[in-house]
Amino acid sequence: MTAKPSAESKFERQGLTDEQLVAMLRVMILHRTLENRGFALNRQGKIPFASASEGHEAVQAGAAMAFVRGKDILVPYYRDLGLDLGIGLTSYEVMLSLFARIDDHSGGRQFPHHYASKKLGLYTISSVIAAQTSHAVGAAYALKLGKEHGRAVLTTFGDGATSEGEWHESVNFAAIHTLPIVFLCENNEWAISTPLSAQMGQPDVYKRAEGYGMPGVVADGFDPIACYAVTKEAMDRARHGGGPTLVEAKCYRFLSHTTDDDDRSYRSREEVAERRKDDPVPKFERLLVEQGVLTPGALDELKASILAETNEATDRAEAVPYPRPEDLFSRLYEGPWEPWQ
């Protein structure tokens, strides 16, 4: 099944104000600009690696708008640059991560886009697929036990993650305990080189929700407003004791998995070109201009400001030093640690 573009003839803003719609567009363009910058820096030999999430801009900007800063918890996966930006991560922090500088959240230890910020409610993750899903469930359990009403956990993963046993274990546990959590699957149809058809017997992740005893909903992952609406409804339900929801956003990965991957070896250029026609970023730009939410001039200004921000963040982060060799030994345990020699 392919994601169907939502009808542009009828503009459903789902209660979003002009400011919110523009904020979502800003996150989408910033997401793409920073990501493209990462690929460029890699080709320039300035950073060793960059990963791709082009095609995920809409679902991430939409879901981020449903996240309440200062209250909710985000347990993302590594392909969530836009979601991280949408809940308050700065371009500078992104560039510190790409450049692996000492002031990066992980101190230059982690791969790009593995952030950790208590202030943002953004959890630390590894790169192991679906390993974070149980952490999200544990955090949701803590919220419930602490009677922290009005707070919820949003956790994300790709379609490939749903094949992991731990993913099943975690979703099942959340259902048993009616936990305040939303499981958001960003189904981009590809797990590196493995297509959906080699990952599951039927292509709809959301349908599994019934088996767990929770609501399952699906949205067009190229439509940020639709993604916002389903995530908002699910988060509100979670915040008010209604338990978990499995949300699936059907999107697509336009680029190779990372700078170390070459998708020409496993999928046709025609397929990618066909899906590009629905590229959510220019589509949302057009929609907001057509609907008079922002003028063409304002859109140009927005893009110019994002480019300036990206340039500034790039230069500023590049000037920050690398971690020192002795930083290898810090913060393994609390307090001083004497490594075994």
Partner: protein
Amino acid sequence: MAVATSSSQVLNNVEAVRATLYEALKNDDKVVILGEDVGSRGNVFLITKDFVKEFGTERIIDTPIAEASIVGIAVGMAMEGLRPIAEIQFADFIYPSFNQIVGEAAKTRYRSNGEYTCPMVIRTPYGGGVRGALSHSVSVEALFYHVPGLKIVVPSFPADVKGLLNAAIDDPDPVLFLEHKKTYRLIKGEVPDGHYVIPIGKADVKKEGSQLSVVSYGLYVHWALEAANQLENEGMSVEVIDLRSVRPMDRTAILQSVRKTRKLLIIHEDNKFGGIGAEISAMVAEEALFDLDAPIRRLAAPDVPAMGYAMPLEEAYMSSPAKMADAMREMVKF
């Protein structure tokens, strides 16, 4: 022989674990226990019996049979400020949770540069001599002690169980707490009342001696003591060190003893290849080779997956006080 005093009581290891968990639940609302059959059944060894009546199903959580997420959920709880004590019903069932322990819990602080921490305990009964066969008898410490970021505790006496379990629960980092199931009811000892902590990473000299250092942990500490006492009657003086923790490991205590006795015998139930004894041997060889009067020797299990169910297979796998005494005699006389 342990004798209760007004400020202590005699407990076996099961009772020591139980009493310590109870106190922790009583003293800190953030402590929760999760695992298979820990609730209404009260754990398969009855360690948490009736806890659910006092602390409720929200804090004493009967989980689905899903070891990876038992640990993973505890990691998330810990990152969100709870003090989870996850139980793996038998150490033999810990393998599905390997990634959560090694890749997640042990790296939480490190990978977030201190932003998030993972203060949790994973308790699990391990070890043989109970007709546990291939899947209820294994030792798992060597699979985990390779991993920086973890702490691994293997107590053998009830008083150490309490002090070290308190330390593990208080610890700001993840601790794997291994309880030898044969010692659960077999080993009794005096346990001081009230809250006290024994620092993780400190070995304890259980018997002083001058002619040989024996380093061990778990059930085999008790058997080594039995053997050493027998040798005492034969006029030989053997020092027995209980490691109590295998990560961090008390290199100072090991080296101090070895430099005194000039001979080292390492005894463990886990198999020899790549076991705890390999690291100790290498460390002592690097640090104190020229202080030694005899080659280092390791008495450990054979290089097979685990002990068999049939009694002869279990006996062939396990050591014994007699086998230990033989090895000690040979070392002293070398």
